[in-house]
């Protein structure tokens, strides 16, 4: 489904963030990308969304070279990917309901479908009591769950979660992790980037370890070993 082929990313003037990275992610997999802060995990995930281009090498999504796609094609691919970030990236001037609904609008869904689907997703994520609240009225865990709801609502094929538990206490972190596992069990591909040892060791799924921009380990049932 997703392929990295000899990807290198160099920022001007001469800062190498990723070096010769190659790996595949199959549909339905749960892949954790681990590494210290600054190892290049976020850059790697941004490449899947087309937010960064490789300096050398290619990134493919369902056989399409992402950096060679035109704007329209890239937007089509992005609709198949749900993204969750450490800083949530919620819109402060929109309510919980609107934060999810406008993502569906952007995906071209009609009002009837939006009215039907948003309450369902918020129910699944456990925020149906807070539909009228604004993000700054939610706890960190609730904000991250809202971000996951937003990532899920367009029924993407892949969920990319970049340090989703970074700002959460252990209780909320495990709650978010459980949600991601549940999503994966429903058949979605999940790519999780984290530097949280306990989370990785608890998951017992595929782990790709990056150190100083290089892929140093790719294990089917990996542990956090840095």
């Amino acid at each position: 489904m997703i392929q990295f082929q000899k990807v290198t990313k160099i920022y001007e003037p001469n800062i190498t963030v990723l070096q010769d990275i190659s790996f595949d992610v199959q549909s339905g997999e749960f892949v954790s990308i681990v590494g210290k802060s600054g190892a290049g995990k976020t850059t790697l995930l941004k490449m899947i969304l087309g937010l960064e281009e490789p300096t050398y090498g290619s990134v493919f999504f369902n056989g399409h070279n992402i950096s060679k796609m035109d704007s329209g094609g890239l937007q089509q691919i992005r609709r198949k990917i749900g993204a969750v970030y450490q800083d949530y990236k919620l819109l402060g001037n929109k309510t919980v309901y609107e934060n999810v609904a406008y993502i569906m609008e952007a995906g071209g869904r009609d009002n009837e479908e939006i009215g039907r689907e948003v309450p369902k997703v918020l129910e699944v994520i456990g925020l149906s009591e807070k539909v009228e609240n604004f993000p700054d009225e939610l706890s960190g865990g609730e904000q991250q769950r809202l971000a996951i709801a937003r990532a899920l609502v367009n029924y993407p094929d892949v969920i990319i979660a970049d340090e989703p538990t970074g700002n959460l206490d252990p209780y909320n972190a495990y709650e978010v992790l459980s949600l991601l596992e549940k999503i994966n069990r429903a058949g979605k591909t999940v790519i999780l980037s984290t530097h949280d040892r306990e989370i990785i060791n608890k998951l017992g799924k595929r782990v790709i370890t990056i150190e100083n921009g290089r892929l140093i380990r790719d294990e089917a049932k990996g542990r956090f070993l840095i």
């Binding site: 969304l49 937010l51 704007s71 329209g72 937007q75 089509q76 691919i77 992005r78 609709r79 198949k80 990917i81 749900g82 993204a83 990236k89 819109l91 406008y102 993502i103 609008e105 952007a106 995906g107 071209g108 937003r150 367009n154």
Partner: protein, 283 residues
């Protein structure tokens, strides 16, 4: 921010409307000059009316620059003089002492409003078939006046249009920057929309509609202001430029003014939004 955008758009609309009114004033001045008598050919007192009318016909055929020629008989000239000076007994007494009608029959010649026609017509009048009847040709003073008026209107026009265009260009830059600030406030929202796969037009549409609304509001303000300006200052304009009514000019050109103001306001709002948002779409 929205108020600032509307304000700047309104300034541009008013500047462009000002240029349109300047064009109207210029047209009035040119028309006034055009309708002035350029050249007066005075005929000998004993020339019969038939000969003068023949000269008139020949002149019209010989010089296409002539737009019209008015024949003024001796009697008409005397009557006109008496009418104009009926309140001046000294002049009436002086005229009665002369006894006979001292005025000569004349042709008042009006040419197209380009300079340099006078010499050509004067040369035609000096040809033997005309000079036989013509006593004198009076054009030198009017020529100077006309040329001065042309020089003034031309310079005022050049300066007005030049300064106007410069101001409009500066104002357009300000509009772009103001709309940029409006769009910049939604930078995060645009980025998030792009990341979830929103099409360019989905992102653009609200800003373009917003730009059009700014233009529409600015148009309503400016149209009302222009109406008030034309209505209340029309009296002053008629004193300064007799025969030119600001309000009549406004009413006569109301659809053009609506088109200009609406086009500039809405057009600029839409184009500025379109261009500014494009930068934020590169996500």
């Amino acid at each position: 921010m929205a108020l600032a955008a509307i304000f700047v758009l309104a300034i541009i609309i008013l500047l462009v409307t000002g240029l349109f009114f300047l064009r109207g004033v210029n047209g009035y001045l040119v028309e006034t000059v055009q309708n002035k008598i350029d050249i007066t050919a005075y005929f000998k007192a004993d020339t019969v009316e038939g000969d003068i009318l023949n000269v008139r016909q020949d002149l019209l055929a010989a010089a296409p620059e002539i737009t019209s020629i008015e024949y003024v008989s001796r009697e008409a000239a005397l009557a006109d003089f008496n009418e104009r000076h009926k309140d001046n007994p000294t002049l009436a007494r002086a005229l009665s002492e002369v006894g006979d009608n001292p005025f000569l029959p004349a042709l008042n010649i009006i040419t197209t409003p380009t300079t340099g026609q006078y010499e050509k017509i004067a040369q035609i009048l000096q040809q033997p078939q005309f000079s036989l009847f013509v006593q004198k040709v009076d054009f030198s003073q009017k020529k100077d006046t006309i040329e001065t008026v042309f020089a003034i209107t031309s310079n005022v026009n050049k300066f007005g249009i030049g300064a106007g265009i410069l101001l409009v260009l500066v104002a357009i830059l300000v509009v772009f920057n103001t709309i940029k600030l409006v769009v910049n406030a939604s930078k995060e929202e645009i980025a998030t929309q792009r990341i979830v796969g929103a099409s360019s037009w989905f992102v653009r549409a609200p800003f373009i509609i917003e730009g059009a609304l700014f233009g529409l509001i600015a148009f309503v303000i400016c149209f009302t202001a222009t109406f008030c300006f034309a209505y209340f200052l029309t009296g002053v304009s008629e004193i300064v430029m007799p025969g030119f009514s600001l309000f009549r000019y406004f009413i006569t050109n109301i659809f053009v003014i609506i088109l200009i103001q609406l086009g500039v306001g809405v057009g600029l709002g839409v184009v500025a939004s379109f261009i500014v948002v494009r930068k934020y779409l590169k996500v």
